[in-house]
Assembly symmetry: D2
Homo-oligomer: 355 residues x 4
Amino acid sequence: MSGSIYGRYFSVTTWGESHGPAVGVVVDGCPAGLPLTEADIQVLMDRRKPGQGKYTTARKEEDEIQILSGVFENVTTGAPISMMVKNKDHRSSDYSTIRDIYRPGHADYTFDAKYGIRDYRGGGRSSARETIGRVAAGAIAEKILERIGISFDTRVISVGGIDAGEEEKVKEFLDRKMKEMDSAGGIVECVIHGVPAGLGDPVFEKMDASLAKAIMSIGAVKGVEIGDGFAVAGTTGSQNNDPFRLDKEGKIVKKSNHAGGTLGGISDGSDIILRAAFKPTPSIAREQETVNRSGEEVTVSIHGRHDPIVVRRAQVVVEAMAAITIVDLLMANMHATMSGIEHFYGNTENDNAGK
Amino acid sequence: MSGSIYGRYFSVTTWGESHGPAVGVVVDGCPAGLPLTEADIQVLMDRRKPGQGKYTTARKEEDEIQILSGVFENVTTGAPISMMVKNKDHRSSDYSTIRDIYRPGHADYTFDAKYGIRDYRGGGRSSARETIGRVAAGAIAEKILERIGISFDTRVISVGGIDAGEEEKVKEFLDRKMKEMDSAGGIVECVIHGVPAGLGDPVFEKMDASLAKAIMSIGAVKGVEIGDGFAVAGTTGSQNNDPFRLDKEGKIVKKSNHAGGTLGGISDGSDIILRAAFKPTPSIAREQETVNRSGEEVTVSIHGRHDPIVVRRAQVVVEAMAAITIVDLLMANMHATMSGIEHFYGNTENDNAGK
Amino acid sequence: MSGSIYGRYFSVTTWGESHGPAVGVVVDGCPAGLPLTEADIQVLMDRRKPGQGKYTTARKEEDEIQILSGVFENVTTGAPISMMVKNKDHRSSDYSTIRDIYRPGHADYTFDAKYGIRDYRGGGRSSARETIGRVAAGAIAEKILERIGISFDTRVISVGGIDAGEEEKVKEFLDRKMKEMDSAGGIVECVIHGVPAGLGDPVFEKMDASLAKAIMSIGAVKGVEIGDGFAVAGTTGSQNNDPFRLDKEGKIVKKSNHAGGTLGGISDGSDIILRAAFKPTPSIAREQETVNRSGEEVTVSIHGRHDPIVVRRAQVVVEAMAAITIVDLLMANMHATMSGIEHFYGNTENDNAGK
Amino acid sequence: MSGSIYGRYFSVTTWGESHGPAVGVVVDGCPAGLPLTEADIQVLMDRRKPGQGKYTTARKEEDEIQILSGVFENVTTGAPISMMVKNKDHRSSDYSTIRDIYRPGHADYTFDAKYGIRDYRGGGRSSARETIGRVAAGAIAEKILERIGISFDTRVISVGGIDAGEEEKVKEFLDRKMKEMDSAGGIVECVIHGVPAGLGDPVFEKMDASLAKAIMSIGAVKGVEIGDGFAVAGTTGSQNNDPFRLDKEGKIVKKSNHAGGTLGGISDGSDIILRAAFKPTPSIAREQETVNRSGEEVTVSIHGRHDPIVVRRAQVVVEAMAAITIVDLLMANMHATMSGIEHFYGNTENDNAGK
């Protein structure tokens, strides 16, 4: 595997640059028999669209998804699902000044260091448009999960250090940052309901570890935590351990959920809780010091259509990556026991033998 | 791949339970020609040994590593390196009371939920002894990295919320927690020096994402951050962007390192900085509420040889996982450019053609 | 990984059905800096085109390849290369009669058994059009290999058991089969020149094993052999062993090449020789007994545009799969030795230390 | 993944050299709940033991398997199963003469070309002892398969070109070859009964392709075929297509099985039939021309304990690799349909919705 493929079972391959003809994704491993239309995908796609408010970029992206394979008569066939969105709004001239300049906080320098070549017209593979493929794949993952009762609650919980609930304060803060030609970071929280106990493996493929990779692979994320996260470092065992108890039906549940839904890397039946810290948009109009490709120190001001915060549009990307990961773990778990395998292949005779 | 194999190129497979005959690891993909002895491995192994201080478990683990394959006349041959440590100090009776009880904060319940069977004598695959294999593999990774100038600085930076530098306060705090039959969390920081620019891929295999998975796969880790981590959520673009400048030799460097050494998922030549939050040891002697396998609410007190904090012994596991990850990315990067491939295979004629 | 992704380093994901809007491929892991245009791909594409002679299907497929990503100013950037061919010539009505009938020798029955659903308009993923993606990816692989002096000689060596050199006999035989509304099998041989010694790994990733999978994954292939292949079963060690000798420049070479260029799974510097046996086209106009989806015994005659032999068009698919495999092994081999790694990362100091 | 790991779900990692302290294997991904003892493994191990007849090597290998992890109270726990066999019978002096000589038909030269270093005491990773790990893993795979009614018939069908049924002729032939200090090749056939329809994926992970890789990865195999194999190249569609019919219970079956149990890469419910061609043992006492490490032309006679034919001992290795592959495909198939996933996770409500 190289770097644009994610998922061992439900494999997602994204492709495309912001200023090429299109961006897209191939989902290999989607089960057959899932009802699926372009409209199903579009719902999630629309949640990542820019141009939805004052603090998100004014760039018009229609982002109409097209399904090219793997679906027949509105049902998945088990074949790879190829999806594509055409790039419509090319204004390459916006980017011509940064052709030879390494923008601070961007991947221009590291792309040149690694590949010796760079599509300077946009962010190349680091463009936010790469996430279109993730979101389209995530929409399919959510449809799968919905059918076994798994759902998502994703929201921005802080902007520039301010509790997102304090809407007026956030508004004032962002207005000030825009005037200052600056940008701000934020935190996104994703809560996953209905995950059955047993998903994730105890060593390297822990649910926590898989989610951490999924979320940290989103551009601008610099920290990931599960459950109480970094706060656990300042607490004690007696506070942090979640006592087990029985609910009214006699089912084993936990009294609290500091763990965020996983124990030993395996889901425990509680909500899965994860948070991601996003850095401020690196593209700011304020003048910055930097260096160009010729090795000269220069200054740069980045004008154009950029979000002062990325967290609003990034929420759906967090949710999409979480959904893809949960589907992958869901599939992985299906062959964890001999009785599961025997049951699947119809051996009722031995069904309890291995228990 | 299933859950006990880590790394695409430098593949590490750990095996073994705390109360079986042995624990071990197979490293597949170690390059040929690396000088390697058991003593080289033992150096890192000794850093994870318990019984090294007042606050680490008194359990005597000799943990003498044995190399079983892949090394001939003290040099690696390119064949898989199998390493093993015998389990010597079995006192299974210590664990007999917890055979049917789901310990809070442990994976007992989730193992039963997933597999329907559990080696109740210890933590099974969730035992800290599983990390022996990681550390042994990490020792080989560090030897590889040393030869191209990459080194590690790993330390505990906080214990129970107290700055680890304030040694007296930490001491008092831990003494109190031990008296209270409780435990504490902490934070480990790992700084990696000398990583060349260009490692990591721009999408799913970002260096940050790979490190996040590696570190979050360590038991008890609940949060991972790179560079300024969660603090970026409260900062602005003008503060967080690291300006590029030229050093005395004219090399491109950064004025600051908020990014923690990666831009767009690719190393930028600065130090890689990562931090991991560890939860308090879940095994505490204090009475806790829980449930047993028969579905009854019970209380449990966990006696035995347990560390009140895991961060001291966990440092070397963080370092080992980071080292394994960097080696993997180092290898992945070798075929990133056509000129690199041509140079390797001796085509000097075309050497600059693809640039 | 699921079933539509091939290659660990140079990863090829094909997608698309014969009667959907398009078929395509994403190549992830192509090195940056390779000059590449659509015309480069088209050369190989044209070799798999039908309608090139009397014995290949008359269906008109223009198969114009479009590069959608990963190439900037005619040079690869290291980003995934997405390529697509639109499906133009839909005559679904041709296939309507076979909607409910399981054609002998086809995958209709097994698709239904596995997925419970099937795109009955064509062969779905078993359509020969799936190979378009393989050939497009193979064209890139061949461009990479060309630059380090690796080239291919691929040809049909027998048709229906007749030596392909006896052109008149083959012609008569095929005319007779067409009259008889029947089809014929054949053998394709691929010789790979210029492969350096050292590619392939000694255990599961032997060059022979990797090539066997690559070639056997082509529809209609029922046998694969390397070097003398099945003939070795009837020979002796003294006949089959290839003696080593020195050539005029003192380089170690082999006197013969019964081994087909690999020893212990690793290339030995001689030509790699492989052969694939193709079954006769299963679509024949002659009446055949079979069963329908309702579980009734019926007869079927398959009319339409089908090749009486597949070997002519299949040659380029064999070559493409071989090329993709060799590129993968070429990349895998780059981190096999410590001195190779040190040299790549510029450690001249230790350069011979590990030898 | 590097070269000593096989299987995506049921992952087998072998390690060890013939003259090191031990050889072994780690099986990751074995389902929990399978009754398993060392005696179960030993049954298959004993079938590969040398010293069982006149034509197999007299070397005494006790090969007592030891299970080190993953099994608790004689039942698998879902944790990786580590197994080891100690190497007991070291007579390194036997091999000292070949330290600097490249034996024809062996991997000595290619190991040096690839790694620059070689464990010259035996075949290193190319030693037949590497197959111990494969057979031990195969024994577990067969236990899994047995429980859903899958079984194996493996036999030698020809020796040196003579039908293995003609025992007297084979005996005379082998006696003559031993006198002539020569060796012979042969063919092994493996028939797999009870494989349900639906295993294997339609593109790169075809059942045929996966089996081809598995079998071709066994040292000395130079050809693999499925069903009628190379014979299909000389036949016609009307002969080769297997007509479908209904059996007495109304189940869809095939009238013949030229296909060897797969259509479009997916099992069709018939017996899976595969054959492997083994080359003659390259170690022969007869004098052979070759070259040494110093680049001089020399002659070599290889004395020692070598089988004149490998097919007898290799049968069980073929069976083991086939069993591992079938388990892998069995697991892969469990998440192929939405209704399968929903049924597994207890969604009876939607159970037929996706059909």
